[in-house]
């Protein structure tokens, strides 16, 4: 994003956060978006998290082959990596692809088919009606998905490690329960909140200012995913630097 785009992004957010015309209608839209972002992504996040947890356990076991390192470390490393980085960041990048492209395409298509103009002519604050419910759903549902992802990833680590014989069940459980710092959960949730905001607002911006037709909608959708992913990684570094 250059400075002009960033300025327009901020102005769009300002318009989106104006007082809604009717909260009842907005609430309905918020719940619809929660269903789409949260429930609709649950399957994908579950599968990805479980496998990442399992693979992480195998890789950590492969690298820690010294007799001086207890095998309980495998569980500890997997737990901290999952909570601090893998669950929030990988989930966010996957969601940026799934949800971000859908949001950008939906709003972009509404723009090129004059549906956004129709909203504005009716006297409705189009950024508010179209973008605010998505952002509110994003910042509430992405943290929930990340919590589920953490649980499934650690469970996947247990299954992958024990089924392959890389670590025993007792060692793994001892590892994930030893020296647990609850603050890591707080860091992960802050990341998830920020990522939820990025995943919904950046694609909404890209879609809202589309000009042209189907080709431009597709280009905006691709741009939305790319910009979202880069923003997620940049904010990941920023939040980690500030909180740890």
């Amino acid at each position: 994003m250059n400075f002009t785009n960033f300025g327009r992004y901020i102005l769009l957010l300002k318009a989106a956060f104006k007082r809604p015309e009717k909260w009842k209608i907005y609430m309905k839209a918020i719940f619809q978006q929660m269903d789409f972002i949260g429930v609709g992504s649950l399957g994908l996040i579950s599968i990805i998290s479980t496998f990442i947890g399992a693979v992480m356990t195998l890789q950590i076991a492969f690298q820690l082959v010294s007799d001086f390192i207890p095998k309980t470390i495998i569980g500890s490393v997997n737990r901290d990596s999952t909570i601090l980085e893998l669950s929030p960041t990988i989930s966010a990048i996957v969601l940026a692809g799934k949800i971000g492209s859908a949001i950008s395409s939906e709003i972009g298509t509404m723009r090129v088919t004059e549906q956004i103009d129709a909203l504005e002519i009716m006297g409705i604050n189009a950024p508010g009606y179209l973008i605010l419910p998505k952002i509110l759903a994003g910042i509430t549902m992405v943290p929930m998905l990340v919590i589920i992802s953490m649980v499934l990833s650690i469970t996947g680590g247990y299954l992958g490690g024990t089924l392959s014989g890389a670590v025993s069940p007792t060692e793994y459980i001892q590892g994930i329960t030893t020296d647990f710092n609850p603050f890591t959960i707080a860091v992960a949730l802050v990341k998830a909140f920020v990522f939820g905001f990025i995943i919904t607002s950046v694609p909404a911006y890209e879609g809202f200012y589309v000009k042209g037709g189907a080709l431009e909608v597709a280009q905006a959708s691709t741009r939305a995913v790319v910009v979202s992913c880069i923003s997620i990684l940049a904010c990941d570094y920023l939040v980690t630097g500030l909180m740890l």
Partner: protein, 250 residues
């Protein structure tokens, strides 16, 4: 009444509107006509605030739209109904939800009152019973009629139609034209139609503004348009062989 004064609008170096003025009276069908690229749609978008003219004013019954803040503009927009060229129906909503949408947003009516209004509007455009269909299930003409039904749902004082006949067969075009004219006369709305359809011009053009190269070239009624000797207007009106033959005959 809507009055426009000295409207100028450019896109980069391309000056699309070059000082257009005119008055659009209520209860009659006002048409803005002109060839492709003459600035008709740009003028319409300047009138409803989707484009911001660099110069000039748009006055709705004494209220200068170009000088109002966002909240004041919204109040005027609640009095506007608009039929878009592509109908602009919300894809994710049924016909009923589309028409009910502005009622949900801006009125405190009960569900049954809103449903009555929806059914009245659908009945008005001869689409009774089509409530539960989605826009993807409608033909082009039906979409236009749903667009009109949505536009009149809030009893607008001002009705704008952008190319209402585009993509329609001649028979459906006449139905849409007559519907616009009937609604205009029945509810005394100030109706502005942008078109280049000559059937509409001759059929419902109570007041016609002809644009050419971003300027107002001529204004008058459909009864006067055939008698003018302005070359640019005649080139536009009698471009088709049929119209030329009709002129030669009569």
């Amino acid at each position: 009444m809507i009055e426009i004064k000295d409207i100028h609008k450019s896109f980069g170096d391309n000056e699309v509107l070059r000082g257009i003025s005119g008055k659009f009276q209520p209860g009659i069908t006002n048409l803005i006509i002109g060839g492709s690229g003459s600035g008709k749609t740009t003028l319409l978008k300047c009138m409803i605030g989707l484009h911001h003219p660099e110069q000039g004013s748009v006055t709705y019954d004494g209220r200068d739209f170009t000088q109002l803040n966002t909240e004041e503009r919204i109040e005027i927009r609640k009095e506007i109904g608009m039929l878009f060229q592509g109908s602009a129906l919300f894809d994710s909503m049924t016909v009923e939800e589309n028409i009910m949408f502005p009622l949900n947003m801006f009125t405190d009516q009960s569900r049954s009152e809103k449903l009555d209004r929806v059914n009245f509007c659908l009945d008005r455009v001869n689409l009774e019973g089509k409530n539960k269909l989605f826009p993807a299930e409608l033909s082009g003409g039906m979409k236009k009629r749903v667009g009109i039904a949505r536009a009149i749902a809030m009893n607008p004082k001002y009705l704008f139609c952008d190319e209402p006949n585009s993509g329609l067969d001649p028979k459906t075009s006449i139905v849409i034209d007559e519907l616009i004219k009937e609604i205009t006369e029945e509810y005394n709305t100030t109706t502005v139609v942008v078109t280049h359809d000559m059937n509409s011009v001759m059929g419902i053009g109570d007041y016609i503004m002809f644009l050419h190269q971003g300027k107002k070239f001529w204004e008058g009624s459909n009864k006067e348009i055939a008698k003018t000797d302005i070359a640019e207007l005649n080139d536009f009106v009698f471009a088709s062989r049929f119209m030329k033959a009709a002129k030669d005959k009569f």
